[in-house]
């Protein structure tokens, strides 16, 4: 393995594993993440999916993937991955399947499945040291059902079930569950956060993970124009802003040891990121909510103050 395989954008692999024509929203951040992620993974993949936006990419009789795909149910994609991985292993071991038929098993779910209904199955799979990948495309809500709050929705965001009202001026009052830390607490071989805006960082992380056997877990910020209330053309720009404001740290953890792979030298104010999304519009209109914006900024500042340079 060599993580210096990816140095510049010219090193982005040219082969496409996803074919256009999906019914996903124009500008879908999750689709961009999957497309780029797949390039670093290569071809022999079976995607194991739990209910979410991405489920709709393959609806009978169409699939955009040249690789295999298995839609499971909402709570148990990691358990589905367990069955596939174990079956491949035992069949190969017993000589019933040629080793060339082996596949990488990759769970892909949204944040709803990852941090809520599927958390139990995920913890079980990681605990059992399952040799699999998990790509969580995090658009910070239950997107497919109309953008209701999930435990990944950030404090201060408006969703269909956390609408800002005079009683709840912040919109969502609960904090964003720290899925990176939950995964990391199991001490799996590899956990990383990625962003579709920082492509080389993403590709390097995938490449690095390939050298590990066991759970390889990725949390990808996935801008959602439909749910976040932004222009479809801004998806990559928003991802970049999330990183540059420090809201979305780019980091990895190898057997629990954390390293930040990118540290913004001078963080942009969180306001720059919040004000261009309608899900945060209530923090600016009709009156600017200084205290909530300040609270968000404070949490970001506190996080980075603990990060050693």
């Amino acid at each position: 393995m060599s993580i210096i395989k990816y140095k510049t954008l010219k090193d982005v692999p040219k082969e496409e594993f996803l074919v256009p024509g999906t019914p996903l929203c124009a500008g879908c951040g999750a689709l961009l993440v999957m497309r780029l992620f797949h390039k670093a993974l290569g071809g022999d993949v079976v995607w194991v999916n739990a209910a979410g936006c991405v489920t709709l990419m393959a609806t009978f009789p169409y699939t955009p993937l040249k690789s295999s795909w298995f839609y499971i149910a909402m709570p148990s994609a990691p358990a589905g991955a367990q069955g596939i991985r174990d079956a491949l292993d035992i069949l190969i071991k017993k000589g019933k399947l040629d080793p060339t038929e082996n596949l990488k098993v990759v769970v892909v779910t949204g944040d709803g499945a990852a941090s809520d209904i599927g958390l139990q199955a995920t913890s079980g799979a990681i605990h059992r040291d399952l040799d699999f990948f998990y790509l969580c495309v995090d658009n910070e809500a239950y997107g497919n059902t109309g953008f209701q709050a999930s435990s990944s929705s950030p404090m201060g965001s408006g969703t269909a079930t956390t609408k800002p009202t005079h009683l709840y001026p912040a919109g969502n009052v609960l904090p964003k569950k720290d899925l990176f830390e939950i995964w990391r607490s199991h001490r799996p071989p590899y956990v990383a956060t990625i962003s579709p805006s920082h492509v080389i960082d993403m590709l390097r992380k995938v490449e690095k993970s390939l050298s590990f056997k066991g759970p390889k877990l990725f949390l990808a910020l996935s801008p959602c124009p439909t749910g976040w209330g932004a222009e479809t053309s801004e998806s990559v720009k928003l991802a970049k802003l999330a990183v540059e404001t420090g809201i979305w740290p780019l980091k990895e953890a190898v057997y629990g040891e954390v390293t930040h792979t990118y540290i913004p030298s001078k963080r942009k104010p969180v306001e720059d990121y919040l004000k261009v999304q309608r899900r945060f519009a209530h923090l600016f209109k009709p009156v600017k909510n200084e205290s909530i914006i300040a609270e968000i900024q404070k949490q970001v500042d506190e996080y980075w103050s603990k990060v050693e340079h």
């Binding site: 256009p20 019914p23 169409y62 053309s233």
Partner: protein, 235 residues
């Protein structure tokens, strides 16, 4: 009183002309010769079955962009639907638009723009009265055959979404200016749909059959080498 699938519609309204060609949608099914099809399009669309049906065209997308600044069509389509039968007044129509949009929590000026849009669409659409009520399509009941292994919902034709021309979603079309482009490949990298490929010299080629017109490429191009035009092929 109808429920679910409407077997013999009096009116069919289609927002995206490319749906007329979609195999699974089949919007024209069950239409009688005197029923009415409304298509959101600035120009006539040529399709064999349309020849027998009364078709009305209207550039609702153009009007929406003019009044509201976005291609959001609900108020426009609602107004057209209300006018076609002649049963719903302008006042009721505009009142409905205002009430619906207020419930969504939109700002007053946005609501007002939508009301104006609805008004223009209502006034510029003709009323054709109740149509196609006597048409009874013939359906035959058949026995389902057991297909064994072939009747399992496994999808073997991988990578076949290419058959769905999502380019028809496009309202705006990105066009690369080869004179300004430096073949940096950033647009290729950031296209969520894999709709940009690179030619032998590394210059981007956009797949217009599938490009949804999200315009991420336009935003990310460091040279502003991609310009945007209103899509004319379908809308």
């Amino acid at each position: 009183m109808e429920r679910g699938h409407i077997f013999n519609p009096s009116y069919v309204l289609v927002t995206t002309p490319s749906l007329l060609f979609d195999m699974t949608v089949k919007p024209l099914e069950g239409m009688a010769e005197d029923s009415v099809l409304f298509v959101n399009s600035p120009r006539e669309v040529s399709i064999e079955q349309l020849k027998k049906i009364r078709v009305i065209y209207g550039d609702l997308t153009g009007l929406a962009l003019k009044y509201v600044g976005k291609d959001i069509l609900s108020a426009a389509m609602g107004a057209v639907a209300c006018k076609l039968s002649g049963l719903i007044s302008l006042q009721s129509t505009l009142g409905a638009v205002e009430e619906e949009l207020a419930e969504l929590g939109l700002e007053t000026d946005i609501i007002e723009k939508n009301v104006q849009l609805a008004k223009e669409c209502y006034l510029s659409t003709e009323s054709v009265g109740l149509r196609g009520l006597n048409h009874k399509p013939l359906h035959k009941v058949v026995e389902v055959r057991y297909l064994g292994e072939k009747g399992i919902p496994d999808l073997l034709s991988v990578g076949n979404t290419a058959l769905r021309k999502t380019g028809s979603w496009r309202v705006f079309k990105p066009i690369v200016d080869k004179n300004l482009c430096t073949a940096c490949s950033i647009c290729y990298i950031y296209c969520p749909e894999a709709c940009i490929s690179l030619d032998e010299r590394g210059y981007p080629v956009i797949n217009y059959d599938h490009c949804k017109g999200c315009l991420v490429c336009t935003t990310e191009c460091p040279r502003n080498a991609i310009r945007v035009e209103r899509e004319t092929a379908w809308s």
